[in-house]
């Protein structure tokens, strides 16, 4: 059902056009259609090229903007309300070729770059950051990691189905008692030479896509980090597959503040037998795998913040034009001018930081951690702040689910915790800044 119809049938006639614009053909014929060109719109048009480095990027963004408007936006509020996961929609992203953005074509991917990853996350988060989080966990935390770190045989085995959307999964690093202190993990794997098998025991927590069916069974495929040696950094990365004996959902995590449409679970490993062929990279060498994937993960999360912020600014602008008080529109009031303008500047600063990094990020390299941490640290708090201003500008309406901004505010908060807490970024960045030379 199109957004137009769903809102018309709902209870909010007065401001619906704020979110849809005015359909120009009165018969509502074109309401759900129109492939837009994103490159020829209003202000900062000089920067549009910066945010769309090639025609493929511009066309991908156009297609996504359409898809999000027609398919993602209409379902966002409901799936958030019911804490349900829209698995068919994620599979649709597979049909569109979006689950393997960075994967080589020989494994079913499209071999694109960090800028493509960023724009995909921006566009999806405009309407449904929770859905985008599941997309991120699958495409970056699992698929990109495999693409970067696995052997050709492993990629051949695991990637095609994951890129097509037949298999959906994520990554397990955090545990009930270890989050920011990553190397404090206690899940361990012990190798049995006779059977050439590892035995994995432990628990992982906060796993996005940990379950896809409301807690009954696990997702299809996970990269799980486990302790495999005496040193603190002796961590190995394993591929764990659904239905391996002893691999189960501990519990689905309910009543989350935000990202409610993204399924989060605790996963339990009870002596799970893992074939040696499922070890990704070197035994005890997973910190390298982690480091190599970190930058694109952080960029993806920062990009989600950008999508949230852009949405909130658009909502504020529309409301300020429509709402009158004391005989004037809200645009005439200083606090509103400040809220919208400051949000715009902060958003643009974040967007430029993200694209500056993305446009030159070599997906195979690592060592750009400082700015990967920096973009996420900045953009996460920026998105939360912008969403907060949006609620305030909308007043009572901002407090209500139908007007989207309260959901975006709740979703934004996760970005200061998931994929690296603010504190972890402080720690990492301070370490890099301390040992680095003077800034140029």
């Amino acid at each position: 059902m199109s957004t137009a119809r769903s809102l018309l049938l709902g209870k909010s006639p007065r401001y619906f056009k704020a979110f849809l614009g005015n359909p120009r053909t009165g018969r509502g014929t074109a309401a759900a259609f129109s492939k837009t060109s994103v490159v020829s719109s209003s202000s900062s048009s000089n920067l549009q090229d910066f945010f769309n480095p090639t025609e493929v990027h511009a066309d991908l963004r156009s297609m996504l903007r359409d898809f999000v408007k027609k398919e993602v936006e209409p379902q966002a509020l409901d799936f958030n309300r019911t804490e349900k996961f829209n698995l068919p929609l994620l599979r649709q992203l597979g049909d569109l070729g979006l689950l393997g953005l960075t994967v080589e074509e020989e494994y079913g991917g499209t071999g694109l770059d960090a800028a493509a990853v960023v724009l995909a996350h921006e566009e999806l988060s405009y309407s449904d950051p929770a859905f985008c989080l599941s997309y991120l966990a699958h495409s970056l935390l699992l698929v990109n990691n495999l693409s970067t770190n696995a052997s050709p045989e492993q990629k051949e085995k695991f990637l095609p189905a994951a890129v097509a959307g037949q298999h959906i999964g994520g990554m397990g690093m955090s545990e009930p008692s270890a989050g920011t202190d990553v190397l404090g993990m206690s899940t361990k794997a012990v190798f049995d030479h006779r059977s050439d098998t590892w035995h994995l025991t432990g628990q992982k927590m906060w796993i996005t896509n940990g379950t896809l069916d409301g807690g009954k069974t696990t997702g299809d495929l996970f990269l799980v980090y486990a302790r495999t040696g005496p040193e603190r950094s002796d961590i190995t990365s394993f591929v764990v597959e659904k239905d391996m004996p002893g691999f189960q959902v501990g519990q689905q995590i309910h009543d989350k503040l935000g990202m409610r449409a993204s399924p989060t679970a605790e996963l339990v490993f009870d002596n799970v037998p893992i074939p040696n062929g499922n070890v990704i990279g070197e035994v005890n060498g997973a910190t390298l795998c982690m480091m190599r994937n970190l930058e694109i993960e952080r960029l993806g999360l920062a990009a989600m913040a950008l999508g949230i912020a852009r949405r909130c600014i658009n909502v504020m602008k529309d409301y300020a034009s429509d709402r009158k008080a004391f005989g004037k529109t809200l645009w005439d009031f200083g606090q509103i001018q400040s809220a919208i303008s400051t949000s715009y500047a902060e958003y643009m600063a974040g967007r430029c930081y993200v694209y500056a990094l993305a446009n030159q990020l070599d997906l195979d390299s690592y060592g750009n951690g400082l700015d990967a941490d920096g973009t996420k640290l900045y953009c996460a708090q920026m998105a939360k702040t912008v969403a907060d201003r949006a609620i305030q500008v909308l007043g009572g309406y901002g407090y209500v689910g139908e007007y989207s901004v309260e959901r975006l505010w709740r979703d934004a908060k996760l970005l200061e915790i998931g994929g690296g807490t603010n504190e972890s970024h402080h720690k990492n960045m301070a370490r890099d800044l301390k040992r680095g030379a003077d800034l140029e």
């Binding site: 120009r24 129109s34 493929v56 297609m63 499209t110």
Partner: protein, 253 residues
Amino acid sequence: MKVLVGVKRVVDYAVKVQVQKGAVNLKNVKMSLNPFCEIAVEEAVRLKEAKAAEEVVALSIGPKQATETLRTALAMGCDRAIHVSTDLRTDYMELQPYAIAKIIQKIVDQEQSDLVLLGKQGIDSDCGQTGPMLAGFLGWPQVTFAANLNVEGNGITVERETDSGTETIKIPSLPAVVTCDLRLNEPRYATLPNIMKAKKKKVDTIKAEDLGVDLTTHNEVVEVFEPPPRKEGIMVESVDDLVSKLKSAGVVA
């Protein structure tokens, strides 16, 4: 069957247009593929997938940004594209349906197309004239407002939507011109692999002036204005009151 699909770059449906200096302001305004043209592209691509069409060529008349519109058509599955380049406005202000139909006729002659699929109207000018005029110039049968299209033998059977119902029109043999209406199909999203493939597809550019068509604006647009703001209604207390108000307004006898 060789199919030619017209794709027009128009102001996006959601834009609140403003009139400036007697014309709709197009500066910095979001532009999109005309929704009815998008439906035409989808239908053409389906014909190709059903192996009824061997080649689908997309055509757009407009400035250099029309190539973006053509890229969308290519990403949806058209084989190649032709860009007739002109900086004349195509929203009726400068280039008008008569000339546009003449231009398309030239391309049809060049391409030897068997079927021309167009949107039923552009959402900027809302004329709905290009398809019928083109058919007239070509001397071809035409069906407008197509809601269903089936290939049958050498011809096509088209269901046509009108305000009084649907009629079924049989064209026993091609060539023909068909304009597409809303319910004909639901256009696909271009997949990312197809978006990337579109980069490699051929786009030929021809200058409109080089086609030997009279591009003069023959109809003068006298005035362009925004519709008057909706006036407030009057609340009435009773049915009698309503009837008497309707009578005095001359709405009922």
